[in-house]
Symmetry: C2
Subunit: 438 residues, 2 copies
């Protein structure tokens, strides 16, 4: 019999306590599956308060660094969170001592992943972070191992449950962004300060990790174009539905002729695509492998039990002796990336304008788009309550005009819309949403 894997856990919140419970409950199966016993031998947390999980017989380390350095711990599990210390130095300490590390800390991996992967490489330990993206959805393992022999052309996904919950409610109930955000906060799906989620930064950190695994890029949040969902209106979701689309906040990383493009923004996806079916707080990732139809993984992207499931699977991999490169390749093979120049982005666009309703407006808009060589797939102009346009006075309320374009360049769209604004045939700022085809 191989010696047991001795696990030390820093952080005993919902996830940490559930990891302790799962390892205990699944003990026999874990031993069968990995060929060795997995034992939690030491823990630490900010407070020694009473917890729902039995910690008798488990050593209490005085702090995370002491736990990370403990020679009786083989595998250090970091579940404290926070993008810096003490999590960072504790992980660094554990790796430099040759231990394997498991963490659910997306922000830390996004910011310091390369440095930590380098330390893991040098000292021979594993650095596993399946729970950092999509919780129990095995997307890290799929990209790191499951598609190791397949060139990947694009990976994209719904990586933030808060945003998907808000967009789902807005679409299904016609509510405003603000109303849905408040509900999400009330139900615990959104933080008191929701900006990190709704402005797309959480999605960007996760995307940086996925892109690295898929394309061999250095994890770098700053290379990602980021746009959140607060500008999305119920009208956009309604118009999208009528045109056969849904709006999702996607993180997209794709191979282009100019390099790897990484971006986070509200996106129109065809209603028939797997990703469009994903509602509420559920997460999903679609991977386009070269020459094969898309593979989509759907599941819970957050929650104590789902996160703990991924953490224990990572611990099981350590027990089994699996040592894959943290980002799929040696750190010195990972390529630097530049921020996606969105003005050169190619794709279809949804454009919603509020047209001042007099004769010639549609013609003016069509002309400005044609000048930029933008072809229109569909155009819908609606008169509220079925009223006729005011043909002569031009005094009626603005009416929405919805356009879907064929693939074009983003700067062409901007130039056309600037011209339309100069023509003074529209009110307010045009709404523009990129379309992602499956």
């Amino acid at each position: 019999m191989v010696a047991p894997l001795r696990v030390g856990i820093a952080g005993l919140g919902t996830v940490g306590a559930e990891v302790v419970r799962l390892i205990e409950q699944q003990g026999r199966v874990l031993t069968e599956r990995t060929g060795r016993s997995v034992q939690v031998v030491a823990v630490t947390a900010r407070s020694k308060k009473k917890r729902a999980v039995d910690l008798s017989g488990i050593k209490w380390a005085k702090d995370p660094l002491a736990l990370a350095a403990d020679p009786e711990v083989d595998c250090f599990v970091e579940l404290m969170g926070g993008a810096g210390d003490p999590a960072l130095s504790a992980i660094d300490t554990a790796l430099k001592a040759g231990k394997s590390v498991v963490t659910a800390n997306k922000a830390l991996i996004a910011k310091h992943g390369l440095k930590l992967a380098k330390a893991a490489e040098k000292h021979g330990g594993a650095l596993n972070f399946e729970a950092a993206v999509g919780a129990a959805i095995p997307v890290i393992k799929t990209l790191r191992e499951g598609l190791a022999g397949t060139g990947i052309s694009r990976v994209y996904g719904i990586l933030n449950g808060t945003c998907n919950y808000i967009l789902t409610r807005m679409e299904q109930e016609g509510l405003s962004f603000d109303e849905c955000l408040k509900d999400a906060q009330r139900l615990g799906y959104a933080e008191a300060d929701p900006s990190f989620d709704i402005h797309g930064h959480d999605t960007a950190q996760k995307l940086a990790i996925l892109a690295s695994l898929a394309f061999g890029t250095q994890v770098a949040e700053k290379s990602i174009y980021v746009e959140g969902i607060s500008s999305i209106a119920p009208e956009d979701l309604k118009a999208a539905a009528e045109l056969g689309y849904r709006v999702k906040l996607l993180g997209v990383a794709m191979r282009t002729a100019k390099g790897i493009e990484q971006r986070v923004h509200p996106t129109m996806v065809p209603k028939s695509s797997s990703i469009a079916q994903v509602m509420g707080v559920t997460n999903a990732v679609t991977i386009d492998g070269e020459g094969i139809p898309p593979i989509t993984l759907v599941g819970p992207g957050a929650g104590g039990a789902a996160t703990a499931s991924a953490v224990v699977a990572d611990i099981a991999d350590v027990a089994r002796g699996i040592r894959a490169a943290p980002f799929g390749r040696p750190v010195d093979k990972l390529q630097a990336t530049e921020k996606a120049p969105m003005e050169r982005h190619e794709g279809g666009y949804y454009i919603r304008l509020m047209a001042r309703d007099h004769a010639g407006t549609a013609a003016t808009i069509a002309t400005r788009l044609a000048e930029q060589k933008i072809s229109i797939e569909s155009i819908v102009q609606r008169h509220p309550n079925g009223s006729e346009p005011a043909k002569t006075t031009g005094k009626s309320a603005p009416v929405p005009v919805i356009l879907i374009t064929y693939a074009t360049h983003e700067d062409a769209v901007h130039r056309a819309l600037q011209a339309v604004q100069r023509d003074k045939v529209i009110s307010g700022k045009p709404q523009v949403i990129r379309i992602e085809k499956n």
Copy 2:
């Protein structure tokens, strides 16, 4: 630098040739990802005909057994197919020589998987078969490693593209089973002899493999209740749609109080479930882990490139030194199973009866169900062309009555329907489809 992994491939059909091409094309990435070079050093196939892939510099072995025994081969890749020899003895030979084996051969793994896993265990090689279920969908890896620490309560999926293609066409176009089967054959989605697919046996073999990985059961096709899709009529799909369901051929393995129940049959699934969205030849598997929302993996379940993608990922795992137990646990820990006693199956049921349309029929049916303590969730009776029922003569054509029951036992349903048939209030045989809730 570690020595290269020397690969021998038996079988150079679509998949085999694509594997050779992928290993060549992805060579640099494979080396980065696995830490060693992966080289195809020997191949064999039935004929030496010219192929699209370059085999220069690769040794041609005289037969699969010679290739399997070749001391210059570290990893034997079996892509010949067939549930017996030569594939079986070749794999056995390779494993007994301590080599690792990769195969896409579902039938062989379903029939001889335990014996081969035992040989792999004894001699220290890997036995990988990701491509055998769901081709490029990483479902084997997910069950074997990705959810190693999570108790699984149910795994179910659309595992046969032919059947899902037929059911999709029937639903979307209102066509009959026979028409859709002929189209599927014309388009190459169904074999000339389609019975293995449409009667559910292909699904059953795949399910036996998934159940083993999820629940630690011995792979045993004979423990599976199997029912195909040939009895499904367009009326059933139409009624299902109206009641908020779709009909899919599912393989389902679940933990029950009486043991692991394994079954393959047409199934009504709620339209809102991830699995219901899966159309055409696409496959999907949903895994219910204890305490966490379902995880669904969707993607191509067949095709040369998709299958080759999984085969090369399996080879990469061998190169990386990953040696997980083939069925997730040591063979002697796998439990024997018994065939699911379907009469004790519990669930909701869809029942379509052709009622002889005279007064009292509905009452008779309702009474017979009530006698068996079956509660009805909904009942729909339709008069074709909006005609009124013939109240007195009883001579009009039979009209369909559709019932959805709440959860009950299958034998209760059978007893109730036998009573209704004895009452002579219906024509023909009742259609019964089990409902699977998500």
